[in-house]
Protein backbone atom coordinates (compact mmCIF):
# COMPACT_ATOMS: atom_id res chain seq x y z
CA UNK A 1 0.00 0.00 0.00
CA UNK A 2 1.10 3.52 -0.75
CA UNK A 3 0.31 6.84 0.91
CA UNK A 4 0.65 10.06 -1.03
CA UNK A 5 0.75 13.21 1.08
CA UNK A 6 0.28 16.66 -0.42
CA UNK A 7 1.61 19.45 1.78
CA UNK A 8 1.16 23.15 1.05
CA UNK A 9 1.15 26.48 2.80
CA UNK A 10 -2.19 27.41 4.35
CA UNK A 11 -4.31 29.96 2.51
CA UNK A 12 -3.29 33.43 3.66
CA UNK A 13 0.33 32.45 4.39
CA UNK A 14 2.59 34.36 2.00
CA UNK A 15 4.41 32.03 -0.43
CA UNK A 16 7.40 33.96 -1.83
CA UNK A 17 8.54 30.99 -3.94
CA UNK A 18 5.09 30.60 -5.47
CA UNK A 19 5.08 34.30 -6.29
CA UNK A 20 8.47 34.02 -8.00
CA UNK A 21 7.24 31.03 -10.03
CA UNK A 22 4.12 32.92 -11.11
CA UNK A 23 6.17 35.95 -12.22
CA UNK A 24 8.64 33.77 -14.07
CA UNK A 25 5.82 32.02 -15.95
CA UNK A 26 4.39 35.45 -16.89
CA UNK A 27 7.85 36.44 -18.20
CA UNK A 28 7.87 33.29 -20.37
CA UNK A 29 4.63 34.39 -22.02
CA UNK A 30 2.14 32.48 -19.87
CA UNK A 31 0.12 35.59 -19.09
CA UNK A 32 -2.86 33.52 -17.96
CA UNK A 33 -1.07 32.60 -14.69
CA UNK A 34 -2.28 34.88 -11.91
CA UNK A 35 -1.04 32.92 -8.91
CA UNK A 36 1.20 29.96 -8.01
CA UNK A 37 1.40 28.11 -4.71
CA UNK A 38 4.30 25.74 -4.14
CA UNK A 39 4.09 22.67 -1.96
CA UNK A 40 5.58 19.22 -1.69
CA UNK A 41 4.53 15.64 -2.21
CA UNK A 42 5.73 12.80 -0.01
CA UNK A 43 5.15 9.16 -1.03
CA UNK A 44 5.30 6.45 1.58
CA UNK A 45 5.37 2.70 1.00
CA UNK A 46 3.45 1.00 3.79
CA UNK A 47 3.10 -2.57 5.02
CA UNK A 48 -0.47 -1.78 6.13
CA UNK A 49 -3.44 -3.76 4.82
CA UNK A 50 -6.44 -1.72 5.95
CA UNK A 51 -6.71 1.60 4.07
CA UNK A 52 -8.74 3.33 6.80
CA UNK A 53 -6.27 2.35 9.50
CA UNK A 54 -3.39 3.38 7.25
CA UNK A 55 -4.95 6.80 6.73
CA UNK A 56 -5.27 7.28 10.47
CA UNK A 57 -1.60 6.40 10.96
CA UNK A 58 -0.42 8.63 8.11
CA UNK A 59 -2.47 11.53 9.49
CA UNK A 60 -0.65 11.03 12.79
CA UNK A 61 2.67 11.13 10.89
CA UNK A 62 1.65 14.44 9.31
CA UNK A 63 0.76 15.94 12.67
CA UNK A 64 3.94 14.69 14.33
CA UNK A 65 6.53 15.41 11.65
CA UNK A 66 5.59 15.74 8.00
CA UNK A 67 3.65 19.02 8.16
CA UNK A 68 4.09 22.09 10.34
CA UNK A 69 0.46 22.90 10.99
CA UNK A 70 1.33 26.45 12.06
CA UNK A 71 1.91 27.28 8.40
CA UNK A 72 1.00 24.18 6.37
CA UNK A 73 -2.06 22.11 5.54
CA UNK A 74 -1.96 18.57 4.15
CA UNK A 75 -4.06 16.00 2.33
CA UNK A 76 -3.56 12.23 2.45
CA UNK A 77 -4.40 9.78 -0.31
CA UNK A 78 -4.12 6.03 0.18
CA UNK A 79 -3.49 3.82 -2.87
CA UNK A 80 -3.58 0.02 -3.04
Amino acid sequence: MKAIIYIGLKPGVLDPQGRAISRSLNDLGFEEVTKARQGKVIELDLTAEDPAAAETRVTEMCEKLLANTVIESYRVEIED
Partner: protein
Protein backbone atom coordinates in the same frame (compact mmCIF):
# COMPACT_ATOMS: atom_id res chain seq x y z
CA UNK B 1 27.42 28.06 36.41
CA UNK B 2 27.26 25.16 33.96
CA UNK B 3 26.25 25.69 30.36
CA UNK B 4 25.78 23.37 27.39
CA UNK B 5 25.73 23.66 23.61
CA UNK B 6 23.71 21.08 21.67
CA UNK B 7 25.31 19.92 18.43
CA UNK B 8 23.26 18.46 15.57
CA UNK B 9 24.60 17.06 12.28
CA UNK B 10 25.44 20.23 10.25
CA UNK B 11 25.28 22.66 13.15
CA UNK B 12 27.96 25.23 12.34
CA UNK B 13 27.78 27.88 15.09
CA UNK B 14 28.31 25.41 17.93
CA UNK B 15 31.91 26.55 18.33
CA UNK B 16 30.92 30.24 18.20
CA UNK B 17 28.35 29.58 20.92
CA UNK B 18 30.91 27.70 23.02
CA UNK B 19 33.46 30.54 22.71
CA UNK B 20 30.82 33.09 23.76
CA UNK B 21 29.70 31.03 26.76
CA UNK B 22 33.27 30.44 27.93
CA UNK B 23 34.10 34.13 27.55
CA UNK B 24 31.12 35.18 29.68
CA UNK B 25 31.11 32.42 32.31
CA UNK B 26 34.83 31.62 32.45
CA UNK B 27 33.92 27.94 32.22
CA UNK B 28 34.02 25.78 29.12
CA UNK B 29 30.49 24.62 28.20
CA UNK B 30 29.59 20.96 27.82
CA UNK B 31 29.11 20.01 24.17
CA UNK B 32 26.12 17.66 23.92
CA UNK B 33 25.52 15.50 20.84
CA UNK B 34 21.90 15.39 19.65
CA UNK B 35 21.63 11.59 20.09
CA UNK B 36 22.05 11.93 23.87
CA UNK B 37 18.75 11.30 25.60
CA UNK B 38 19.46 13.49 28.61
CA UNK B 39 21.40 16.63 29.48
CA UNK B 40 24.30 16.09 31.90
CA UNK B 41 23.44 16.89 35.54
CA UNK B 42 23.50 20.48 36.77
CA UNK B 43 23.26 22.38 33.48
CA UNK B 44 21.83 25.89 34.03
CA UNK B 45 21.71 27.29 30.50
CA UNK B 46 21.54 25.60 27.10
CA UNK B 47 22.25 27.07 23.67
CA UNK B 48 20.88 25.61 20.44
CA UNK B 49 23.34 26.87 17.85
CA UNK B 50 22.99 28.10 14.30
CA UNK B 51 23.68 26.01 11.23
CA UNK B 52 21.78 23.83 8.83
CA UNK B 53 20.88 20.82 10.94
CA UNK B 54 20.05 17.79 8.77
CA UNK B 55 20.65 19.96 5.70
CA UNK B 56 17.31 21.70 6.36
CA UNK B 57 15.60 18.51 5.09
CA UNK B 58 11.79 18.59 5.21
CA UNK B 59 11.76 22.02 6.93
CA UNK B 60 14.45 24.03 8.75
CA UNK B 61 14.87 22.58 12.23
CA UNK B 62 12.19 19.92 11.71
CA UNK B 63 14.38 16.83 12.02
CA UNK B 64 16.56 18.29 14.78
CA UNK B 65 13.48 19.18 16.83
CA UNK B 66 12.55 15.46 16.94
CA UNK B 67 15.96 14.31 18.20
CA UNK B 68 16.30 12.60 21.59
CA UNK B 69 18.02 15.52 23.34
CA UNK B 70 15.28 17.96 22.31
CA UNK B 71 12.66 15.74 23.97
CA UNK B 72 14.61 16.15 27.21
CA UNK B 73 14.89 19.92 26.64
CA UNK B 74 11.12 20.22 26.16
CA UNK B 75 10.54 18.47 29.49
CA UNK B 76 13.15 20.61 31.26
CA UNK B 77 11.94 23.88 29.69
CA UNK B 78 8.60 23.27 31.39
CA UNK B 79 10.46 23.13 34.69
CA UNK B 80 12.19 26.45 34.01
CA UNK B 81 15.50 25.55 32.35
CA UNK B 82 16.95 28.54 30.44
CA UNK B 83 17.27 27.68 26.73
CA UNK B 84 18.27 30.00 23.88
CA UNK B 85 18.25 29.23 20.17
CA UNK B 86 20.02 31.40 17.63
CA UNK B 87 19.30 31.16 13.90
CA UNK B 88 18.79 27.43 13.23
CA UNK B 89 18.42 27.05 17.01
CA UNK B 90 15.41 29.41 16.86
CA UNK B 91 13.94 27.32 14.03
CA UNK B 92 14.41 24.18 16.15
CA UNK B 93 12.66 25.81 19.14
CA UNK B 94 9.60 26.75 17.05
CA UNK B 95 9.49 23.28 15.44
CA UNK B 96 9.71 21.72 18.92
CA UNK B 97 6.76 23.85 20.05
CA UNK B 98 8.83 25.63 22.72
CA UNK B 99 8.23 28.96 20.99
CA UNK B 100 5.17 29.94 18.95
CA UNK B 101 5.14 30.61 15.20
CA UNK B 102 7.39 29.40 12.39
CA UNK B 103 10.34 30.61 10.30
CA UNK B 104 9.70 30.71 6.57
CA UNK B 105 11.72 31.47 3.44
CA UNK B 106 12.88 35.12 3.35
CA UNK B 107 10.32 37.28 1.60
CA UNK B 108 12.77 38.38 -1.14
CA UNK B 109 14.00 34.74 -1.50
CA UNK B 110 17.61 35.82 -0.93
CA UNK B 111 20.08 34.58 1.65
CA UNK B 112 20.85 37.60 3.82
CA UNK B 113 24.26 37.95 5.49
CA UNK B 114 25.11 41.31 7.06
CA UNK B 115 25.31 43.26 10.33
CA UNK B 116 21.71 44.01 11.28
CA UNK B 117 20.44 46.88 13.41
CA UNK B 118 17.97 45.73 16.04
CA UNK B 119 15.78 47.40 18.63
CA UNK B 120 15.34 45.97 22.10
CA UNK B 121 11.59 46.08 22.65
CA UNK B 122 11.55 44.49 26.10
CA UNK B 123 14.42 45.61 28.33
CA UNK B 124 13.04 43.69 31.30
CA UNK B 125 13.34 40.21 29.80
CA UNK B 126 15.79 37.70 31.27
CA UNK B 127 17.80 38.01 28.05
CA UNK B 128 18.04 41.82 27.91
CA UNK B 129 18.10 43.12 31.50
CA UNK B 130 21.82 44.03 31.35
CA UNK B 131 21.38 46.38 28.39
CA UNK B 132 20.03 49.08 30.71
CA UNK B 133 18.64 51.99 28.70
CA UNK B 134 20.35 50.82 25.48
CA UNK B 135 17.79 50.15 22.77
CA UNK B 136 19.84 50.00 19.55
CA UNK B 137 22.17 47.04 19.04
CA UNK B 138 23.78 45.39 16.03
CA UNK B 139 24.10 41.62 15.63
CA UNK B 140 25.06 39.76 12.44
CA UNK B 141 22.38 37.86 10.54
CA UNK B 142 23.05 34.98 8.12
CA UNK B 143 19.98 33.07 6.98
CA UNK B 144 17.69 32.10 4.13
CA UNK B 145 14.69 31.15 6.25
CA UNK B 146 14.24 33.84 8.87
CA UNK B 147 10.84 35.20 7.92
CA UNK B 148 8.94 34.93 11.21
CA UNK B 149 5.29 33.97 10.82
CA UNK B 150 2.49 33.58 13.34
CA UNK B 151 -1.22 34.29 13.01
CA UNK B 152 -2.52 37.68 14.15
CA UNK B 153 -3.97 36.34 17.35
CA UNK B 154 -0.60 34.86 18.35
CA UNK B 155 1.25 38.04 17.36
CA UNK B 156 -1.14 40.15 19.43
CA UNK B 157 -0.62 37.87 22.43
CA UNK B 158 3.18 38.02 22.04
CA UNK B 159 3.11 41.81 21.97
CA UNK B 160 0.69 42.13 24.85
CA UNK B 161 2.77 39.88 27.09
CA UNK B 162 6.10 41.50 26.28
CA UNK B 163 7.37 38.37 24.51
CA UNK B 164 8.68 40.34 21.53
CA UNK B 165 12.19 41.04 22.81
CA UNK B 166 13.94 42.26 19.64
CA UNK B 167 12.69 43.84 16.41
CA UNK B 168 14.56 44.63 13.19
CA UNK B 169 15.18 48.32 12.54
CA UNK B 170 15.28 47.55 8.80
CA UNK B 171 13.42 44.25 8.28
CA UNK B 172 15.71 42.00 6.16
CA UNK B 173 13.44 38.99 5.67
CA UNK B 174 9.76 39.93 5.79
CA UNK B 175 9.21 38.88 9.42
CA UNK B 176 5.76 39.69 10.78
CA UNK B 177 5.77 42.98 12.67
CA UNK B 178 9.58 43.20 12.26
CA UNK B 179 10.04 40.50 14.91
CA UNK B 180 13.66 39.38 15.33
CA UNK B 181 13.54 37.61 18.70
CA UNK B 182 10.89 36.29 21.09
CA UNK B 183 10.66 34.51 24.41
CA UNK B 184 8.05 32.11 25.77
CA UNK B 185 5.45 33.26 28.26
CA UNK B 186 7.54 32.18 31.26
CA UNK B 187 10.58 34.01 29.86
CA UNK B 188 13.08 31.14 30.18
CA UNK B 189 13.09 30.09 26.49
CA UNK B 190 14.32 32.59 23.92
CA UNK B 191 14.96 32.47 20.18
CA UNK B 192 16.24 34.93 17.60
CA UNK B 193 17.45 34.75 13.98
CA UNK B 194 20.42 37.14 14.47
CA UNK B 195 23.65 35.89 16.03
CA UNK B 196 24.55 37.46 19.41
CA UNK B 197 27.28 34.80 19.80
CA UNK B 198 29.06 36.37 16.81
CA UNK B 199 28.98 39.82 18.43
CA UNK B 200 31.27 39.28 21.42
CA UNK B 201 34.66 40.42 20.11
CA UNK B 202 35.66 43.89 18.88
CA UNK B 203 37.87 42.23 16.25
CA UNK B 204 34.71 40.70 14.75
CA UNK B 205 32.84 43.96 14.38
CA UNK B 206 31.20 44.54 17.73
CA UNK B 207 30.40 43.34 21.22
CA UNK B 208 26.68 44.04 21.46
CA UNK B 209 25.96 40.36 22.05
CA UNK B 210 27.83 40.13 25.36
CA UNK B 211 25.05 41.64 27.46
CA UNK B 212 22.55 39.12 26.17
CA UNK B 213 24.62 36.28 27.64
CA UNK B 214 25.35 38.28 30.81
CA UNK B 215 21.63 38.99 31.25
CA UNK B 216 20.46 35.39 31.13
CA UNK B 217 23.40 34.05 33.13
CA UNK B 218 23.00 36.58 35.92
CA UNK B 219 19.27 35.86 36.06
CA UNK B 220 19.93 32.20 36.99
Amino acid sequence: MKTAVITFPASNCNRDAAVALEKITGVEPVMVWHRESELPQGIDFVVLPGGFSYGDYLRCGAMASRSPIVKDLVAKADKGLAIAGFCNGFQVLTEAGLLPGALMRNKNLKFVCRPEKLKITNSNSRYTSKYGSTIDVTFPVAHHDGNYYADDETLNKLEKRGQVVFRYADNPNGSARDIAGICNEAGNVFGMMPHPERAIDPMHGGTDGINLFKSIIESI
